[in-house]
Symmetry: C2
Subunit: 228 residues, 2 copies
DNA sequence: TATATTTGTGTATTAATTACGCTTATAGAT
DNA sequence: ATCTATAAGCGTAATTAATACACAAATATA
């Protein structure tokens, strides 16, 4: 009997704004059934690399500019995760700087939307499971890889970085120790720009030196942010 | 155009014996071409979960008893990784206690064999890439999850555990600090059995308390073995 | 009984983490 | 101009963890 299994890719795209973690969803219309929100994704073309399939779908459906992308997990244990056919989904984990991404000028914006992670609606298929898997990956990786920077603008304030960690990890941090530790790595540099926010001492903008990080990483350096 | 992509699973099965890391390979015969050694695996059945497919293939081809199994990575970026058809492979990472596994009494043993990791022959398809990915995973995970125990017999000597770490990570360790650290976790317990090896002070056998580890893990404990 | 071999243990030094509070620069109100 | 509120920036002492390092104990064999 010939194999009759389809292969799709789906992307969990995280963004961070106004002190909140967001995920990007699209409105999935299938048949006459109720429209569910779903992760962006779709079937892989015959002559298309998996990674190109995700990139294509992201471009077509949402037009986001990707800062970080890696394979997350392949979902294929539940035979009926898609009720129409057997579909195996290779899920990807994506981080973007949502401040610079204008979602989809070209498609109707109603169908693509950011949802605060605490306010995600019911999702199609097993997409909730995929999202939860991605969230676990995000939390884990944040502590041992400098991926937090991929959720922020190129130049950011320490308070923003700190809030990002607190928010996503749902933990309190000592502001001073956090700053000290990050700076001790030598992968974050201060700029000469200052925040123009009112009502307090102006804050310096900083930026992440990715090149420096990659070099240190090669030399055996371990990034790690962990809190009691 | 209909999707025409096949989906397979492959397993990288690691074992550890006589102070060496081994990988399990099978002889792949296809057509009249030269037989290559390859990772155990094969196509997924239409109504079969991915994980069941790996387990089935492992059972059919090698008959090993699995101690640890997790999804490794899905290889589907190289369109031509299999020259016959487009095949996407979901690779799995498997650890076994090779001392208790008798490989394949039922199939001809010539076709299933352990290879020391330094002596792996040329492999079929992109299996070398898959193996390297698994090896990287093994090295990384050894430092932050107690998976070394899944390569050892239920009861083991400290010297064996220590050698396993040294061998796989290709690093020297201070014997005393290593022991102190492992014991400080409280997840390894001494038994009352002693080694009967000759020529030195007899060594106590220890065993890993998995239940205890899982509990500590839930409480926020972090296993970590890292060396300068 | 002496020698070789492997296991088992302790401590001092150094480095990293944690806990903690005051000063500075700005905006806005008076 | 002065006062108040707000957030940023900085330093140090106390605690905890990691590292470096050497000798004693138990066995087998000569």
């Amino acid at each position: 009997m010939l194999q009759n299994i389809r292969i799709a890719v789906d992307a969990v795209v995280f963004g961070y704004q106004h002190g909140e973690l967001y995920v990007l969803l699209i409105k999935q219309k299938f048949g006459t059934e109720e429209a569910y929100w779903a992760l962006p994704g779709g079937l892989v073309l015959n002559d298309e690399a998996l990674i190109d399939a995700v990139k294509r779908e992201l471009k077509e459906e949402t037009n986001v500019e990707v800062n970080y992308l890696e394979q997350l997990y392949t979902f294929g244990d539940d035979i009926n995760r898609d009720s129409r056919n057997r579909v195996i989904s290779v899920a990807y984990f994506v981080l973007i700087d949502s401040s610079k991404t204008l979602i989809k000028a070209d498609t109707d914006a109603d169908n693509v939307q950011w949802f605060a992670i605490k306010e995600v609606p019911q999702l199609a298929f097993d997409h909730k499971l995929i999202l939860n898997t991605a969230l676990a990956r995000l939390k884990a990786k944040l502590t041992y890889q400098p991926i937090g920077f991929d959720l922020l603008p190129e130049e950011f304030l320490f308070s923003e970085l700190e809030n990002l960690y607190c928010t996503i990890l749902e933990k309190e941090i000592d502001r001073r120790n956090f700053r000290k530790k990050i700076l001790s790595f030598g992968i974050v540099e201060e700029t000469d720009r200052f925040s123009e926010k009112k009502g307090g001492r102006p804050a310096k903008f900083f930026k992440f030196n990715k090149k420096k990080y990659k070099q240190l990483d090669k030399e055996g350096f371990h990034f790690e942010i962990r809190f009691a």
